[in-house]
């Protein structure tokens, strides 16, 4: 099977600071990749490169065989992106915003309208379809963003902390949605700090630290290699420099005179 996403020796520098130090990854269709790492590890940089937000990187990125540098458009058509921050034009209504997105993906108008209606309804936002989003809660905005990432039925879905602001019920819907999308053959690149969610939804976990992959495999494989622990524990063991319980102890000791 040929990989759907290939990262080959991916490097990225910000000035003198090397953020990605040669990432090599082959991702296969239908995989749910849990992409995890501590703050500053290079997670969002990888995501931004994959989505085409950053183009001055070194190395190769192939999406369904299309090189992101030479044929970014073909690659971008295959990808749906749900950004981390609720960045959207909030004076637009969801209908306007999503319609705009659909046109950028060149979806036929009727199809787009139909999809927008169905997806908005699925998230229970029918009543808000024609309301400006500046009044929306964080969760409502996140739902609109999720829809905007799925609208064009992409083969690859990149999710950057997609659950932020969602209430418990929406989280259940969304987790269910991820597994159904994966069953449908979609490749999902799931970037998050919530270890328990990553542990449950992903069938392959990629752990990066300081710009390099330090672990790659299914949760079971990680457990065999690192001891039968939760992902949270494995994560801490592999990325924390000092013992974390020491930190808590030090905090407690600060009360002492």
């Amino acid at each position: 099977m040929t990989p759907i996403i290939q990262l080959k020796n991916l490097h990225k520098n910000y000035g003198d600071k090397q953020v990605l130090k040669g990432i090599n990854l082959d991702i296969y269709p239908g995989q749910v990749i849990g992409y995890i790492g501590p703050n500053g590890a290079g997670k969002s940089t990888t995501v931004k490169i994959l989505c085409g937000l950053i183009s001055d990187y070194e190395g190769d990125v192939l999406v369904e065989g299309f090189d992101l540098k030479t044929d970014p458009l073909s690659a971008k058509r295959k990808i749906g992106y749900v950004p981390e921050l609720a960045e959207l034009y909030d004076v637009l209504t969801p209908a306007e915003f999503l319609g705009f997105m659909a046109e950028l993906y060149e979806l036929p108008k009727e199809m787009a309208e139909d999809r927008i209606h169905k997806m908005i309804a699925a998230f229970g936002l029918e009543a808000n379809l024609n309301q400006r989003m500046d009044t929306f809660s964080k969760g409502m905005r996140q739902k609109v963003l999720i829809i905007s990432g799925l609208l064009h039925n992409p083969d690859i879905i990149i999710l950057d902390e997609p659950l932020s602001g969602l209430d418990a019920n929406s989280v259940i819907i969304f987790k269910d949605l991820i597994s159904k999308l994966a069953k449908d053959g979609k490749t999902i690149f799931y970037c998050s700090h919530m270890m328990d969610v990553v542990e449950k939804v992903s069938d392959r976990i990629v752990l990066i630290n300081e710009g390099a992959v330090i672990a790659d495999g299914s949760f079971e494989e990680l457990q065999t290699a690192q001891g039968n622990q939760s992902l949270e524990k494995i994560f801490a063991r592999m990325t924390a420099k000092d013992s974390l319980s020491d930190a808590a102890d030090q905090m407690m000791r600060a009360f002492e005179i």
Partner: protein, 569 residues
């Protein structure tokens, strides 16, 4: 979307066939433009942002409002047709106004309207080519600029049409177009230049300083130009007599206007015409060829700069003090330990660092400087000896100087209430503060220490140097009154925590604005009356000082019930 936008969208999309041949996706282009124009229509425009009320009803027709206002501005430009005795002179002045106003508006609009950094996250991951995106941006800029240029030029067009015949309109419209192209180039070049010499993080700060600078220049020219025009010499002023005028772009366009209307083939006019044809076209070509491709990159730098300003993780043995010695000394002199001192330091730092605050207050500092300049050098009656002898207008100027600077304090004190990050004021609500007045008095003292002390020092030194010790009683009365005015304004108007409000109370601001002009004016008038009577001046100084003391105490003792202490979410 309103009719105006619909019309413009239709017009710019007319050459769709050409776009297609250039390899541009017309449907995407239309989608982006459509979204952008809707966004424009719902955005409070720069000119009446300040007077905009709390969004009771959503803004829908911002475009039309802006166009009306711009048309009004265009009427002012007509002044230039009453200066000088030839077309070149008149149009040099006209086009100078034009370029200046257009550039200063665009410089603000480019950051807020035309370069929306959300574009990066929203549009860049979509399958849109750079070409399409850049063209969408250019066309959006074109529409935006047309919506400004049309109303701006309309008054002049009507004037020209009525005075000199309709035929004059053709060269005028043509040249206005070229001038506009040239202005766009200027702004673009400026942006690229700023991005080259500084980091993207500082970009917005620098742009906002430019805006402040433009606002002050604008005010200065508004004040100075009418004064200059009164001088009879100007009516016979001929700009052609200066050689340096070749360096001023408006001159080229004015020369072309003369050329096109008179059709005299003099070397000067023909050269002007050639330059004004070649320069804009060339500059726009440069923008498209060299600036546009790197523009997206630069823009993603502005938004994607979170990596480059990572906190310095240098572990120091001794924690570095966050407050300079000078500041911590000041805070010890003026405030009691605890909430008041914390608020003093907090306000000091916020006023130095908040772009929002600086944008509101610094222009008013500039206005006062301009006004003082006019006061001193604008009137022919002014003589240094008058001030030294405290006779004639000398008294008035001295009092004007003192009481006008109180305006700075009033502006700062009332502006201190507002912040974009007003939500951060939760800190006052979760901490055990017995009297919120302490926070307010700390903040007001901070403003006084920061803006009043330097002013007082400069005024005092100047006055003592010019007049000598005999001015001391009046100086003291002035200073205490100024302080009293500030504290009273603080007592009356600061009824909430500093930096804890959304700026929207247009009405109360207006009334406060009137009061803040009338009251210092009244007090200044009274001071003027008693100026020469020393015992009265001394007694009033003492009374004023005591009143200040009580006022500050009253502020400090404001209880929770007396202030609007509702957390604004």
């Amino acid at each position: 979307m309103n009719l105006v936008n619909r019309f413009f969208l239709y017009i710019v999309l007319l050459p769709s066939g050409i776009y297609k041949n250039m390899g541009i996706n017309v449907l995407q282009l239309k989608a982006i433009l459509n979204a952008k124009l809707i966004l424009d229509d719902r955005r409070p425009n720069t000119m009446h942002q300040a007077s905009q009320k709390k969004q009771k009803k959503p803004i829908s027709f911002a475009t039309l409002g802006t166009m009306l206002l711009t048309g009004f501005m265009g009427c002012f430009f007509l002044v230039s047709f009453f200066v000088g005795n030839n077309i070149t002179t008149q149009f040099t002045i006209y086009f100078s106004f034009f370029i200046f106003v257009l550039a200063s508006t665009l410089i603000a609009d480019f950051t807020s309207v035309l370069i929306d950094i959300r574009d990066n996250v929203i549009i860049l991951p979509k399958p849109v080519t750079d070409k399409t995106f850049v063209l969408a941006r250019l066309l959006h800029i074109l529409i935006h600029i047309t919506k400004m240029v049309l109303p701006l030029a309309l008054p002049a067009m009507i004037y020209l049409g009525l005075r000199k015949g309709v035929l004059q309109l053709i060269p005028f419209a043509f040249l206005t177009m070229l001038v506009t192209l040239f202005t766009i180039f200027l702004i673009n070049a400026l942006y690229i230049f700023i991005l080259k010499v500084t980091t993207p993080e500082k970009f917005k700060v620098i742009i906002s300083y430019f805006q402040i600078f433009f606002a002050i220049i604008f005010y200065a020219s508004y004040q100075l130009v009418p004064r200059l025009i009164n001088k009879a010499a100007l009516e016979h002023y001929d700009i052609n007599s200066n050689n340096w005028v070749w360096l001023a772009p408006p001159y080229w366009f004015a020369g072309s206007m003369e050329f096109l209307t008179s059709l005299q083939f003099t070397p000067t006019l023909v050269t002007c015409f050639m330059i004004s044809l070649v320069v804009p076209v060339l500059s726009i070509w440069i923008v498209i060829k060299y600036f546009a491709p790197s523009f997206n990159q630069k823009l993603s730098m502005i938004s994607g700069s979170e990596m480059s300003n990572q906190p310095v993780t240098e572990i120091q043995k001794k924690p570095k003090p966050t407050t300079s010695t000078y500041l911590s000394n000041l805070s010890h002199w003026f405030t009691h330990a605890g909430a008041e001192r914390m608020s003093f330091l907090h306000t000091w730092k916020m006023t130095s660092r908040s772009r929002d605050f600086k944008m509101k207050v610094y222009p008013s500092l500039g206005y006062i400087l301009v006004y003082l300049f006019i006061l001193f050098f604008g009137s022919n009656k002014f003589r240094l000896s008058d001030i030294q002898n405290q006779s004639g207008s000398g008294k008035g100027i001295f009092i004007g100087l003192i009481y006008f600077s109180s305006f700075i304090l009033i502006v700062s004190v009332s502006q201190m209430l507002y912040s974009e990050k007003y939500k951060a004021a939760w800190i006052y609500h979760i901490t055990p503060i017995d009297k919120p007045g302490k926070i307010i008095s700390g903040a007001i003292k901070s403003i006084i220490a920061k803006f009043y002390l330097p002013l007082v020092t400069i005024t005092a030194i100047t006055a003592l140097w010019l007049v000598g010790p005999s001015i001391i009683p009046n100086l003291l009365l002035g200073f205490f009154n100024q302080l009293l005015i500030t504290c009273t304004t603080g007592y009356i108007s600061v009824n909430a925590f500093p930096f804890a409000q959304v700026q929207n109370q247009a009405k109360s601001n207006f009334i406060r604005g009137i009061f803040s002009l009338v009251i210092p004016g009244l007090i200044a008038g009274l001071h003027y009356l008693v100026y020469g009577i020393m015992p009265v001046v001394i007694i009033l100084s003492i009374l004023s000082a005591i009143a200040c003391w009580f006022m500050i105490d009253a502020i400090k003792n404001k209880a929770w019930g007396q202030i609007k202490a509702v957390y604004q979410d």
